[in-house]
């Protein structure tokens, strides 16, 4: 089966080069050429799982200072939102040096997140500090002086979500970096099994140049819901199938018939896979984990299936999943709203790890969070506004956990939790408490792509702005 997809990609290139069609939104020609040239002969299975938190999670109230200067400033700048130290779950990262928050302060997770804090302290989760959309390293002076080259439409939900997923969107969020990774590794996988799958809707992350993401419901594939058959003998279905069976005279009709059959076959395969004999029951790991938990449970099932010779679902070496949750745009009533969301997020991420651990697959999958943007340090009456940089979690057996990671403007690749001082005294604050990222989405993505065992040159193709940063890989996985 494998040569087929490589052949397809090569033919695509030949056709594109030979014909009039050299359109590309994104330098996609290079990407396709790389895919055809590079034969990734992976001997192992790995899955990347993006957990996207729509709305812009307030990470400054997710990872909270317990002591030190950060605590003092935190209480100063967030009079209405500051969480008390009692109830926070301490993060036992190194106090100084590599893996520390970098600012001498100590931090804990939100009171709603005991499971994730425990996972962190057990070395299976890490924090990437103050990461966000950047074209290149940007200082407060450059930003406020107007000389910085900036991502378009900072603080806009749709644009910044697109930036996080596309890196960069180039005003045309046609492909995401998840999709572009899938383009490159497609040849290492059977052609008929989705390797780029969204369980939380269509978005840029799951669009590649040649690989189109398969969009499923949180519990399984979108299936054709064939009409009720009054005759009870599936004759309508048989007629439907007959019309899509091979044999059309017209090339476009044949292609559409193939696509329809493939759609039905894919949905059928995934349904069968999720219900495969021997599929462990993972429900217990996701109790109270909400919609993200439901999606992650389905991902766990598919990862299990890919590693247990489930008929029709074997031979996979790389998969990319997209899981989403919403409601994080907490302009008001933040304490109650975010608290509820974080309960589910904590249970979902820790459940994901525990479920995979139970079947000895924890080191095969890395889950990471992303969000539109962080929120403003300054608060309004009972909420926060759109910000820029944020902190994110990475979870999995391959993660070098119990540490803070990131870059800083000096490009030394050390974590640096941003100052939480009031705006005019804060070198990280671009204004209004909107924190300037010190680590770029590209560095975050590149680290994950590196774990996926893509070559350095291919990673540069996927992330064209990566070269603007001194540190390519952050080392968290």
């Amino acid at each position: 089966m494998r040569p087929d997809r490589r052949k397809f990609i090569r033919e695509t290139i030949c056709a594109a080069l030979g014909g009039a069609s050299v359109y590309s939104a994104f330098g996609g020609m290079k990407l396709l050429q790389a895919a055809a040239r590079h034969d990734y002969g992976f001997t192992n299975y790995k899955a990347l799982v993006c957990v996207f938190l729509y709305g812009g999670n307030d990470s400054f109230n997710t990872i909270v200072p317990i002591s030190g200067a950060a605590r003092t400033n935190y209480q100063l700048v967030r009079p209405n939102l500051a969480l008390p130290t009692a109830g926070l779950h301490a993060l036992n990262a190194p106090a100084s040096g590599a893996g520390s928050p970098g600012d001498g302060s100590s931090y804990g997770l939100h009171a709603s997140m005991p499971e994730l804090a425990a996972l962190f302290n057990a070395n299976h989760a890490a924090i990437v500090a103050n990461v966000g959309s950047l074209v290149r390293p940007t200082t407060k002076t450059e930003y406020q002086g107007g000389s910085a080259v900036l991502p378009p439409q900072l603080f806009s939900h749709s644009d910044q979500a697109a930036y996080w997923q596309s890196s960069p969107p180039s005003n045309a969020p046609v492909t995401g970096w998840g999709g572009r990774i899938a383009d490159l590794v497609a040849s290492a996988n059977p052609p008929d099994i989705p390797i780029l799958t969204s369980l939380g809707g269509q978005d840029a992350f799951v669009r590649g140049e040649s690989v189109a993401g398969y969009v499923m419901n949180s519990y399984g594939p979108n299936v054709i819901d064939f009409p009720y058959e009054l005759s009870g003998d599936d004759a309508l279905r048989s007629a439907f199938d007959a019309l899509h069976a091979q044999g059309q005279a017209n090339a476009l009709e044949r292609t559409f018939g193939n696509a329809m059959r493939h759609s039905v076959a894919t949905a059928t395969l995934l349904q069968a896979t999720l219900g495969a004999a021997g599929m462990p029951n993972f429900d217990g790991y996701f109790a109270g984990a909400g919609e993200i938990g439901e999606q992650l449970e389905t991902v766990v099932k598919l990862i299990w299936a890919a590693n247990n010779n489930v008929p029709g679902y074997s031979g996979l070496s790389r998969q990319v999943f997209f899981v989403t949750g919403g409601g994080y745009d907490t302009h008001s009533d933040q304490l109650a709203t975010q608290g509820g969301l974080l309960v589910e997020l904590s249970k979902a991420l820790s459940g994901f790890h525990a479920a995979l651990t139970s079947v000895s697959l924890a080191d095969r999958a890395t889950a990471f969070t992303a969000s539109d943007f962080g929120r403003s340090l300054s608060n309004n009456e009972d909420g926060s506004d759109h910000g820029w940089a944020s902190h994110q979690f990475v979870v999995g057996g391959a993660v070098a956990g119990k540490k803070f990671y990131g870059d800083n403007l000096a490009g030394t690749g050390s974590a640096q939790m941003p100052s939480l001082a009031p705006s005019d005294q804060n070198p990280n604050d671009g204004g209004y408490g909107q924190m300037i990222p010190t680590t770029s989405v590209e560095q975050y993505s590149a680290t994950l792509a590196k774990w996926f065992e893509l070559s350095d040159s291919d990673i540069d193709l996927i992330l064209p702005n990566l070269g603007n940063f001194n540190t390519r890989y952050l080392g968290f996985v």
Binding site: A15, V149, V215, D225, P227, A249, L252, E253
Partner: protein
């Protein structure tokens, strides 16, 4: 005329007899429509010779044939029909939105703009004045095609805030659908929607002290997507090759940069009226949205009200300006494509647009894409050249695109090409399949109510021509419409539209170099949603249904029962076969091109249905109608318009 028609009929009859005699059993299994050999004794413009030809023409020229339109076209002929369409009054979205806002006093939102789009696409009575009939189908179809070349989208965050920005833009396309492409290009360039979408609005001359460079976004896309494309084309749209067999680039990065410097100094028409005197702080009018409804204006003259600010236009005379900008260079280009220093923003823009429009690529580049949108994905180079020639012969005409539309539709390849190629046709776009279904099945808005939202009254009760049903489904989890079919008007992912004109579907089409742009939308998961969406329309959403009292907006519903007489005249079963229904649907939906195989497959199923099938319906024949629609609309033979 009469004589030659008779000759053709005799010939057709002879061909059919030969086919029938030569292999009746093979014919029974054929997936190819019966040959209808009209090969142009009368010229392509004569006709239509039969209902199937009329239906086929209307599939290309309208938002879907109806029985009434087929009859009308047969009565008047192609040319008279085209002339009627050229003269038909324009349906403009702003007219509808003004009615919604000014007369109904509703908050105008994007759902209203989509209602306006459907009003134009579906045609029929105007909701504000039922005596006014919208019938400008060809104009609307061309405008829709143009909207997929000159793309703006409400997925852009700022445009999403101002529905009228896109309505005003769409009306430019509608108003100029039969006009001149140079004129259209200028109106598009200066529209605030495009200015916002591709960043020409507020674009300013270089200022190294503030690290400002002219934005290249519009400069790039107007060349790459709206006019000349990336590679030099022959007159027939195929690429010119250099000595090494490689395509020749149309322009370089330096060219794009030069255009970016030209497209500087433009902003909202009312920057000063808003109380701003600063070009860079000028913003949209959040109170009325009025400044979205006026072309952008230049801010580069000392006598303009922003006097005192620096000029924002690079005319080649400033210390950081680009001198003697080299735009597109091609034989015959004015001044070799070099823009002399010292112009104004307005005069420089004229030079740049003339420079682009004058390029020999524009004719074949635009001709091919319009053919793809209306007729076939892979037109022959000769067809492209014939249409491009018309484009070029009418370069100075205010009716240029009218001539182009006629050339596309009356070309022999448009009228007869399907008979000679098994690669002919195009996959129907989801939206066009939807409008086809609704038009052909007498869609009406039903249910809905007058309700208060945000302190404003909404009026959806007794409004058969406010097509709100699509709107309420879009963007929700409702698979029946919107998200189910993955396409909404002016909602493309990006400036690269819902699909690229060069998209190669996987499989044999890629192997054979056949593009299928619309296939790019039909991902495996979207196909499943689309089939489910067809089920909803085929089986449910009927005007006879009782309304849900809690349904604010109502739904678009069709009249399935109008086909009862076709579906059977006795008690069904094999003794009362469904031939007339299948043949009527072949004509209405498939231009009479249903293959013998498909016809046999449908009849084998439909003839099982008899008068004992009463569950869930008021008349057993509705089972035949529902299932026939379901099978037809999901079939490859329907989905490929050919």
């Amino acid at each position: 005329m009469t004589v030659s028609r008779n000759v053709r009929r005799l010939l057709c009859l002879a061909v059919m007899l030969v086919c029938a005699a030569s292999g009746a059993s093979a014919l029974a299994q054929s997936h190819r429509p019966d040959a209808m050999l009209h090969d142009g004794f009368d010229g392509a413009a004569a006709g239509p010779a039969n209902d199937a030809d009329a239906s086929r023409f209307l599939a290309q020229a309208t938002f879907g044939p109806t029985d009434a339109d087929i009859a009308h076209l047969r009565a008047v002929g192609y040319q008279a029909w085209l002339n009627e369409q050229f003269a038909a009054p324009q349906s403009l979205e702003m007219t509808y939105l003004d009615w919604v806002g000014d007369t109904l006093h509703e908050q105008v939102g994007h759902q209203n703009r989509r209602e306006a789009w459907f009003l134009g696409a579906l045609g029929g009575p105007d909701p504000a004045n039922n005596a006014l009939i919208h019938s400008d189908q060809l104009r609307q179809r061309i405008a829709f095609a143009l909207s997929e070349i000159l793309v703006v989208s409400d997925q852009n965050a700022q445009l999403a805030e101002f529905p009228t920005s896109i309505a005003y833009y769409y009306d430019i396309l509608v108003a100029n659908a039969f006009g001149n492409y140079r004129t259209l290009l200028e109106k598009v360039t200066l529209s605030p929607a495009m200015g916002t979408y591709l960043n020409m609005r507020g674009n300013q001359r270089a200022d190294p002290s503030r690290n400002i460079h002219p934005d290249e976004n519009y400069a790039r896309e107007i060349n790459q997507l709206f006019s000349v494309g990336l590679v030099m084309l022959k007159a027939d749209g195929t690429p010119q090759l250099d000595g090494g067999g490689h395509p020749i680039p149309t322009y370089s990065q330096a060219t794009i940069s030069a255009f970016a410097h030209v497209f500087t100094g433009w902003n909202w028409y009312d920057c000063d009226d808003n109380g701003f005197d600063n070009f860079t702080d000028c913003g949209p009018d959040y109170t009325t949205g009025e400044n979205w409804l006026h072309p952008m204006v230049p801010y580069d003259q000392p006598n303009q009200p922003n006097n005192g600010d620096p000029s924002y236009h690079d005319n080649g005379t400033g210390p950081n300006d680009l001198h003697s900008k080299q735009l597109l260079a091609y034989p015959g280009a004015q001044a070799g494509g070099v823009l002399a220093d010292g112009g104004s923003a307005a005069s420089d823009l004229q030079f740049a647009l003339d420079n682009i429009y004058g390029h020999p690529n524009v004719g074949p580049f635009i001709a091919k894409q319009l053919i793809q949108r209306l007729v076939t994905s892979n037109p022959s180079p000769a067809y492209v050249k014939r249409v491009a020639d018309v484009f070029n012969a009418n370069r100075a005409s205010p009716n240029q695109l009218r001539a182009v539309a006629q050339a596309i539709l009356l070309d022999p390849e448009a009228r007869y090409g399907q008979a000679y190629s098994d690669k002919y046709g195009k996959l129907r776009e989801p939206l066009l399949a939807l409008t086809h279904f609704w038009r052909a099945m007498d869609a009406r808005h039903t249910c809905g109510r007058d309700f208060t939202q945000g302190g404003l009254q909404n009026h959806y009760a007794n409004q058969p021509y406010r097509y709100a049903g699509y709107v309420t489904g879009w963007g929700t989890d409702d698979d029946q419409y919107g998200s189910g079919i993955a396409q909404a008007p002016m909602n493309a992912f990006s400036v690269f539209n819902f699909f690229k004109p060069s998209y190669l579907p996987p499989g044999e089409m890629t192997t054979n170099g056949l593009v299928g742009p619309e296939f790019q939308l039909q991902t495996e998961s979207v196909i499943a949603n689309t089939v489910n969406s067809v089920e909803g329309r085929a089986f449910y959403f009927d005007v006879a249904q009782v309304c849900d009292a809690g349904d604010d907006f109502g739904e678009v519903k069709v009249n399935h029962a109008k086909d009862l007489a076709l579906a059977g005249s006795g008690n069904g079963g094999a003794a009362d076969p469904a031939d007339r229904l299948v043949d009527a649907y072949s004509k209405r939906f498939m231009s009479g091109q249903m293959s013998p195989f498909m016809r046999q497959t449908l009849l084998a199923y439909l003839n099982r249905i008899d008068s004992s099938w009463t569950e869930g319906v008021t008349d057993w024949r509705l089972w035949r109608i529902h299932t026939a629609l379901y099978l037809v609309f999901n079939s490859p033979e329907y989905m490929v318009q050919k």
